[in-house]
């Protein structure tokens, strides 16, 4: 746009200069003509004046008949006026009284002739002046005008250029450019605003659409809600009910709207509950309760009621929304669960009693069997008649012991699961317990040529634990290790303290090991791994679960790492609060 303006400005400027040139040329011509006319007029006036002067003086002389004086005057005139080219005095009878002509002059003014009268005579004086000066002046004027015109054109052109382009056009262009820039900015800003407003409107439309969708959805939710919903005003008059209300209560929408919620009031619901309801909601608080609602047909149902005050824009309560969820089935289920729990409690009590009875009833005869078998093996009352009896006595003793062990384990597991097992905690030296256990296991390991290694850490802290149960743990783990370690294998025990102060006991063998599936199975109750080696050593299958239970009863954890063919490592983590220094006050107190 600015370039177009520049081009247009140049065309306008050229047109102005052209017009100006024409105007100045015309003005110059006019001035030249005026000056020429003025000079000629001046010359003519001069000639006329001289003619008048000559005429007056000459006629005066002629009146006095002093012709010689008149002629002398005429003769002196060209001398005193060198610009006179012609001076002629002709009498009315054709006689030339005086004649003068200067033929050396190139340019002469037009001759002027005037008649003068004296007495009754007339004489004509013709005077012509030199116009060379006028011609020279006009030529000079012409040159000066040409130069002046060119100078004026250049000056005015420059001034116009300066004024037009520096003072007017350029500031105008700058202003237009600035305004255009501002306009463009405003336009851009407006477009941005329009876009923003359009986006805002679209967003608002979208929001409204979503709101409407949400509202419709909400309405549908409310309409299709499995929860009975109705809305009352602050006086408790029902204004809205959803279809579920009609379905559950049996009241139609028309019957319900305008009615009081008391139509749902069940006689089983205490009066205080309804008073609390109204006190709560009128105080602007939500009210939740499980009450019975009465249907139109007189039946009732349990409902989880949630009444919420609805506030207007000013925060004033305008309505109450009441949500009644039919929880009759849940109530029945809860009743059933309660009945089942009571049955379970009775069953558990019976089980505990059974276990107690079994512990007593089974151990008493079993101890008798084992005791008598022991007596027989040791031939307290003399040798047995037949060697077979000795063999049988050993078998009875072994089976009895195994059975007792099995019963004890089952009882222990049961006690643990039932939370009936109580630890008798005291300060124990893990090293000693481990060593004692190794001594029990050692004969069996010796038979298998298995190397046993105990805990050999002199500064190992003491542990607060049940020594019997800790020993039982070691026995279970070492027995399993020896049991599943082939001949010439090695079983070792160790104990360390980690950075948190926890004590970690470990029992490691290089036996047959287990897969991860076998490990899971080994941890199940009665879940002994099926292997040729295990079959050689019968077990209850309760060792590892019982050990894990005992460790956890101490607040610890049991961790097993095993790989088939490489052996098994069992780690026992006892919490740091059970770890005691040898000289700790607690230890001393114990």
């Amino acid at each position: 746009m600015i370039q177009g303006l520049h081009r247009k400005n140049r065309q306008v400027f050229a047109a102005v200069i052209a017009l100006l040139s024409v105007a100045i040329s015309l003005a110059s011509m006019y001035i030249y003509d005026q000056q020429k006319q003025q000079l000629h007029n001046s010359l003519s006036r001069k000639v006329v004046t001289e003619l008048d002067l000559i005429g007056s003086v000459l006629t005066d002389a002629m009146l006095r008949h002093d012709y010689s004086e008149g002629r002398r005057l005429l003769a002196d005139w060209p001398i005193n006026h060198p610009d006179v080219v012609e001076l002629t005095v002709l009498m009315d009878n054709g006689v030339t009284f005086f004649a003068y002509r200067n033929d050396q002059v190139d340019k002469a003014s037009p001759s002027l002739t005037r008649d003068f009268r004296y007495a009754e005579r007339t004489l004509s004086i013709t005077l012509c002046h030199d116009a060379t000066e006028v011609s020279t002046t006009l030529a000079q004027l012409s040159r000066n005008l040409l130069i002046a015109s060119l100078a004026v054109m250049v000056l005015i052109g420059a001034a116009l250029w300066f004024i037009l382009f520096r003072w007017m056009i350029k500031p105008m262009e700058q202003e237009i450019s600035r305004q255009t820039h501002e306009l463009r900015k405003s336009h851009d800003h407006l477009e941005e605003q329009v876009l923003e407003r359009t986006a805002s409107l679209a967003n608002e439309v979208e929001i409204r659409k979503r709101a409407e969708q949400s509202l419709r959805k909400l309405v549908r939710v409310v309409d299709q809600s499995p929860i009975m919903v109705f809305i009352t005003d602050t006086e408790g008059i029902i204004e809205y009910v959803n279809p579920k209300f009609e379905q559950i209560t049996g009241y139609s929408r028309e019957e319900a709207i305008g009615a009081n919620p008391s139509i749902l009031k069940s006689p089983d619901t205490p009066r205080e509950v309804h008073e609390d309801l109204w006190n709560t909601v009128l105080a602007g608080k939500e009210w939740r309760h499980e009450i019975k609602d009465l249907c139109k047909d007189g039946s009732d149902f349990w409902a989880s009621v949630h009444i919420t005050p609805i506030r207007d824009k000013n925060g004033d309560i305008s309505h109450f929304a009441s949500l009644h969820e039919d929880i009759t089935e849940r109530k029945q289920a809860e009743l059933e669960i309660e009945n089942a729990r009571r049955a379970a409690e009775l069953s558990d009590k019976a089980k505990t009693e059974l276990l107690a009875n079994m512990s007593h009833e089974l151990r008493t005869p079993l101890n008798a069997i084992i005791g008598f078998a022991e007596t027989m093996r040791h031939k307290v009352f003399g040798p047995l008649a037949n060697p077979k009896y000795e063999e049988y006595a050993d078998f009875i003793h072994s089976s009895g012991s195994h059975l007792l062990e099995l019963i004890n384990d089952i009882l222990d597991v049961s006690a643990i699961e039932a939370g009936k097992l109580t630890l008798r905690e005291e300060t124990v030296d893990v090293t000693e317990i481990c060593a004692a256990t190794l001594e029990i296991i050692r004969p069996r390991a010796h038979e298998m040529h298995i190397e046993l290694t105990g805990i050999d850490i002199p500064d190992l802290p003491l542990l607060r634990a049940d020594p019997l149960r800790l020993k039982q743990i070691f026995i279970n783990l070492l027995c399993n290790a020896v049991k599943f370690t082939p001949e010439n294998g090695a079983v070792s025990c160790n104990a360390v303290l980690d950075q948190q102060g926890n004590m970690i006991l470990s029992v490691m063998d290089n036996g047959i090991g287990m897969t991860s599936e076998e490990l899971v199975k080994a941890l199940d109750t009665f879940g002994q791994v099926d292997s040729s080696l295990s079959r050689k050593h019968e077990g209850t299958g309760l060792g590892l679960p019982l050990t894990k239970g005992l460790v956890e009863l101490h607040g610890g954890e049991m961790e097993i790492a095993s790989a088939p063919g490489k052996g098994t490592t069992v780690l026992l983590h006892f919490p740091s609060d059970r770890v005691l220094e040898v000289d700790s006050p607690q230890n001393q107190a114990v």
Binding site: M62, R64, H65, D66, Y67, S68, E69, R71, D76, I79, N80, M91, N93, V95, F97, A119, R121
Partner: protein, 288 residues
Amino acid sequence: MNIRRVFRASVLTLALYFALQPAAAFAENKPPLVLGFMPYLNAELLLEKYTPLAQYLSRKIGRTVQIHVAKNYAEHIRATGEDELDISFLGGSPYVVIGDEYGLKPLLARYEFDGAPTFGAVIFVAKNSPVQSLSELTGKRVAFGSAKSTLSTQVPVYMLMQAGVQLRDLAAYEHLRNHTNVILGVELGDFDAGAVAEEVFQENADKNIRVLAHSPVLSTHVFVTRTTLDQNLRTRIASALTSLKDDPQGAAVLKAIGGNLSGFVPVQDSDYDLHREILKDVLPVLEP
């Protein structure tokens, strides 16, 4: 201001000054002699004509001679009559009038034209004028010279009177300031006839004029002295004048005066008797 005239006057004055230097050398304490003229021509022209003569006389008589041109004829006559001029140029008529009024002035010499000491007046008309005789001038306009001029007024009036034409018979007549004006007045047509000295007419013979009548022969102009001038000096002046044409510089002096002047010759009072007769008839008419 007429530059040419000023220049010419300056030249003449300087020439006169240097010409008189020798005379002044031997006449240191004597006042210059005044040579007076009536204005029968322009004063400038008179100076131009007679300055050589004044120089000649100064050299001859040993005293400075200055030229004086009177304002008019009456002034010149009065100055001459009252002996204010040492040497005075006079026409025949003024000489007679002055003699009658102031007493005769001593004569020095009279003009000689072409060897004759006489001249005359001419009444002339334009060439194309129908007038063929003086008597036909009745009812015509006639131009004369000064009223006291011998040749341009007194003699022509006498001629007209002799022809039976009185001044009152003329339609008009004017006394013009000089002879040139009379020539021009007729030539231009302001006058039907004019009267000038024959000498002047001859000088303007190329103009569109012709002679209508010649006057009787009259003794020429004359130089007189004041009555009180020293006799010796008077004689020396008269001698100088009459010997001019024999002087080596005489021709130049005579030529400067112009016309056909051939010299100055001795003069006596009876040479102007005709003038006395004319004046007797004319003066009552001209000066009633």
